[in-house]
């Protein structure tokens, strides 16, 4: 069989691949199993524990990160799928020790209680506001439909996003 270079991503006996990616603007090189979950790589190998793990099956959004600007569930992403990508986690959202305005809005609008869902929520909101700077309530509900919060109720969360939307519309 005429195999292309891309055919086999692992050597015959060693079940690992070289993973080259950018995480929060830093280049990262790792050797991992090709089917390792991205969420485990972030949390266990790289100690980026801001990304949470809860359901493990794509239903709660606690593990949401951005891959090449798109929101994805790190629990559903296998290592080989993250190769050569650029990933932003919650740790990469704040700049120069300053929290992101979205995080500030969550704080001030009562957008969390225990905070477990919050990193995932913030990532989902970040992607939403990049695509739709002034979202409607329907846009917000749709964008957050994969993120569950078990203690706050969604009122404070939606308020936080609406506050961001109001600020964005003033800027425009």
């Amino acid at each position: 069989m005429d195999k292309s270079d891309a055919v086999n991503v692992q050597t015959e006996n060693v079940p690992v691949i070289d993973l080259n990616l950018t995480i929060n603007e830093n280049p990262v090189k790792l050797q991992v199993e090709p089917t390792a979950r991205l969420v485990d790589i972030l949390r266990d190998e790289l100690q980026l524990t801001g990304t949470k793990i809860s359901c493990g099956i794509g239903r709660c959004g606690a593990c949401s990160v951005m891959i090449d600007g798109q929101l994805v569930n790190a629990c559903l992403t296998m290592a080989y799928q993250a190769d050569q990508t650029s990933i932003t986690t919650i740790e990469g959202v704040s700049r120069d020790q300053e929290i992101d305005p979205i995080q500030k809005a969550f704080l001030e609008e009562g957008g969390f209680q225990c905070g477990y869902c919050t990193p995932g929520m913030v990532m989902a909101v970040k992607v939403l506001l990049e695509e739709v700077p002034v979202p409607t309530e329907e846009d917000i509900k749709m964008a957050l439909s994969g993120n569950l919060c078990r203690c706050t109720g969604y009122g404070g969360i939606i308020r936080a996003v609406q506050r961001m939307a109001a600020e964005n519309s003033e800027v425009r």
């Binding site: 891309a6 055919v7 794509g58 569930n73 559903l76 799928q81 964008a143």
Partner: protein, 301 residues
């Protein structure tokens, strides 16, 4: 007291999971060859959302995963002209999000966009592919593709096959099933009034296997006659099916209230869903009949 050095359960010692090898062929022939080589030990993977879900639910990964993500011909959209008809070809690797954002789908095949909107969440849809949804055999997008008379183009190692969606879904049951390459959407029929709906009924609005999914694409002419009608229903573990008898009943009729009672009975007869621990087949039938008839009722009113 449990001795931590003793296994908690007697019997067979636990077997270690076999490490999975991931193959990333760059064309369909290579993918086919790898699958032939490893047979039942190999499985194709695209977005991997279903495979990862099943892995967490206890289905071990296949020993060989053949990722189709490097096969460029499986990506994106193409506009084709076929005997004067406009067609949209959607590569099997195209994500559900990209399909949802596509302006042509939104304008010409809105029930497909509507069906996609009901699959999982935005983050899942960013990875999940349209091909993976069809190959899942019970995906929510399937009833919409059926009523749009979409064609599945697949590769069987030597040639490309063209089948309707229902036939392709049956082919997947075979061990050496053809690789889905693309979905083609034919130009929708034009009419005075379009009758089109997609309804998913589940225990939650999205994110959960549906109890019933119903799709309809039809045309009503100036005289109020149903000139063209395609109906399909799915949900649960049974693959979606077209409801041909119901279509024949409605075809060429100017529907009146009494017809709806008959249509209700016909859906109950023709739609054959499966039972599961949460929902009986009878319940699914009733839901499907209610949804279809209530949509037609709106038409009469």
């Amino acid at each position: 007291m449990v001795n931590e050095h003793e296994p908690l359960m007697s019997g067979k010692p636990p077997t270690l999971p076999v490490p999975t090898k991931v193959w990333r062929p760059s064309d369909l022939s290579e993918a086919w060859e790898v699958k032939r080589q490893y047979g039942t030990e190999a499985r194709y993977i695209t977005g991997g959302t279903l495979i990862q879900l099943q892995r967490e639910q206890g289905t071990p990964l296949a020993k060989h995963l053949i990722s189709l993500d490097k096969i460029n011909v499986l990506e994106g959209f193409d506009h084709l002209e076929d005997e004067g008809q406009f067609k949209l070809r959607i590569g099997a690797l195209t994500t559900l999000s990209d399909c949802h954002r596509n302006v042509f789908i939104e304008e010409y095949w809105p029930i497909l966009a509507e069906a996609i909107r009901h699959v999982a969440s935005p983050a899942v849809r960013n990875r999940a592919t349209i091909g993976g949804n069809v190959c899942y055999q019970v995906g929510d997008v399937i009833p919409a593709l059926m009523v749009l008379e979409a064609e599945a183009v697949s590769f069987d190692g030597t040639t490309y096959l063209s089948n309707d969606i229902a036939t392709y879904i049956q082919l997947i049951n075979g061990e050496d099933h053809p690789i889905l390459a693309s979905i083609s959407l034919p130009e929708p029929p034009v009419s005075a009034q379009v009758l089109s709906f997609f309804k998913k009924v589940g225990r939650r609005e999205a994110f959960i296997p549906s109890i019933v999914t119903v799709a309809c694409q039809g045309c009503i002419n100036e005289s109020g006659e149903v000139e063209y009608i395609r109906l399909a229903a799915g949900g649960g573990t049974a693959s979606p099916k077209r409801l041909y008898e119901c279509e024949r009943f409605v075809q060429n009729k100017v529907l009146i209230e009494e017809d709806l009672g008959r249509l209700y009975e016909m859906v109950l007869q023709e739609y054959v869903p499966a039972s599961d621990p949460f929902t009986t087949a009878d319940y699914r039938k009733t839901v499907a009949a209610n949804v279809i008839v209530s949509e037609f009722e709106k038409l009469i009113q």
